[in-house]
Amino acid sequence: MSVASTQPRPSPAPQQAGAGRDERLAGVSVLVRLLQRPELGALIGALAVYLLFASVDATPGHLFTSIAGMQNWTDAASTYGIMAVAVALLMIGGEFDLSAGVMTGTSGLLLGMLITRQQVNVWVAIVAVLIFAGIIGAANGMLVVRTKLPSFIITLATFFVLRGVDVGVTRLLTNTVRFDISDQAPGFVSAQSIFGSTFLAPYNFQDAVLWWIAITVIATVVLTQTTFGNWIFAVGGDANAARAVGVPVSRTKVILFMYTAISAAVVGIMVALRFKGIQSGQGVGLEFFYIIAAVVGGCLLTGGYGSAIGASLGALIIGFAQIGIIFANWDSNWYYTFLGVILFVAVGVNTLVRRRAASARR
């Protein structure tokens, strides 16, 4: 290598100067451009957490780094990931949805109720649940943009309303806290093959993993390559400035709330079909995991900045931690402490980024 470096190399500088202005684009170093990416921190974090749990793995044959282990942590991460991407887009748009967790339960329970009580075809029930979720999301969004109250408060109220409804209605109809869905129901088999089945035969990866990857890719394209994505950044970054140049701020936010609720419905449908039933307490508390994944993935709590890939990496970190702690034979309660520390570090890094990006010089 040292021999090769003695060869005289043409300096890149005159080339840049001669080729005109556009060449200066390439003049921004790869490192700087990489550091500008919101998901970089999450990528480094995911690698570090992976290496940590690979090294403390106490299972015979080092399960964590095997394909069977991969099946485990992708399973854990997949539904978090589907939701984290939605929550991240909403957060970039400047809003929160604390009802995102409980909505997975409400949707799954509605699906169970329609199938077991109304004897509806599973596919019809799925469509009905998705429409229902769209309406709840739209209601959240409309309340936020109309009242101009913080979405934190509005969706906290939705969260508690739905939480009560979930348990109340389930007990009223079944006298238990659970809807059981029979696999004999019409349309169940075909629906389960899409939402709650597995692929790659000996390892049996969950379908949700494919959904997660597809949603991350689509969300990334929408966010970075489309007009709507531009509006998401703008309404979260400065809603007044966005409105002044003609961005439909309210519509953009309402659509994001609807997307979040519909994502929750998809996850609820997945859970209900996979486990052939759903608990009335399903999803309560999970909203914080989604927010953690989004923030660890580089989203700013104040909006206007973040990425879908980052949120997915955040979900992956949660998956690593959930499975890795079991494989390491630690008390599983350390899981929460671990995520708390990860969140602290991520917020610290994000704040530094924001100061650099947004500090206005007068």
Partner: protein, 281 residues
């Protein structure tokens, strides 16, 4: 430029009044904006500058009088209609989204796309190229189009907003207090952009309360006070000192002192009137 030669102003305000309930926000305002000229609107807080901008930019309809664009009477139904007629406002604080890149800000709300249906996506290459060209015309060489606008200086951020308005077909550019939050150096940079916009044949309305910023770049000066037109001058009809004095309420004080003098029979009142006139200078 041709408009100013044949004498038809780009934008004309004729005897416009605006009421908010019983409050008279503007009364009987007239002004003209010509292509390739800077019209400065000067006034203290509460003079009605903001109301005037809002009428010109289509936010509020006017209650009396006429608004003429290229000599034709118009009535705007909203900001979009005003923008379609070529009237663009650059607000001091609402101009740009700090966390977004320069090219994203430049095309925000009017994004260029390629492809159709679900394959429709932003034409990123076009957006970056045009932004660099347009910023280049303002004398700013953007090295990295992905740079966040928040990392630019205050003057440069105004430049992004001005370049954007010009690119999207503004004929009349309204700059709302573009220098009020800036330091001396950055204000100077913004004033340079004001002159540049004028040189490119735009009609510029420069709203400010600082005659020191207005006088060097302005061709016409319109002074507002408490919703009324206090005076309209071409540059050769006035001076920086006179503008400054009028901005400080000097003319009103002087008139008041003359009235007092007429009324004053006793020497004590004469003394008060004399003191008032002194103050007016």
């Amino acid at each position: 430029m041709s408009q100013s030669k044949n004498g038809v102003p780009l934008l004309e305000v004729r005897n416009v009044s605006k009421y908010f309930g019983s409050v008279i926000a503007l009364r009987d305002i007239s002004m003209q904006v010509h292509a390739g000229e800077v019209t400065c609107v000067l006034g203290d807080n509460g003079a009605g500058k903001s109301t005037l901008i809002k009428i010109l930019s289509g936010v509020h309809p006017h209650d009396e009088g006429e608004l003429l664009v290229d000599g034709k009477s118009v009535r705007f139904g909203g900001p979009r209609e005003a923008r379609a007629a070529g009237i663009s406002v650059v607000f001091q604080d609402l101009a740009t989204v700090p966390l977004m890149s320069i090219w994203r800000n430049f095309f925000l709300g009017s994004e260029p796309t390629v492809g159709f249906g679900p394959a429709r996506r932003l034409d990123t290459g076009f957006a970056k190229r045009v932004m660099r060209e347009e910023m280049g015309k303002m004398g700013i060489d953007v090295r990295d189009p992905n740079q966040a606008v928040g990392t630019l200086s205050g003057g440069e951020r105004q430049a992004v907003a001005i370049a954007r308005a010009v690119y999207f077909g503004a004929k009349v550019l309204i700059l709302d207090e573009p220098t009020s939050a800036l330091g001396v150096r950055q204000s100077g940079i913004v004033l340079k952009y004001v002159v540049q916009a004028r040189e490119r044949g735009l009609g510029v309305i420069f709203i400010t309360h600082n005659p020191h910023h207005a006088y060097p770049v302005g061709d016409r000066f319109v002074l507002l006070n408490r919703g009324k037109l206090m005076g309209a001058y071409a540059k050769h009809e006035t001076s920086l000192e006179e503008l400054t004095r009028m901005m400080a309420g000097g003319e009103e004080l002087e008139r008041l002192s003359r009235e007092l003098e007429k009324l004053a029979a006793d020497p004590e009142m004469k003394q008060v009137a004399r003191e008032l006139r002194e103050e007016a200078r």
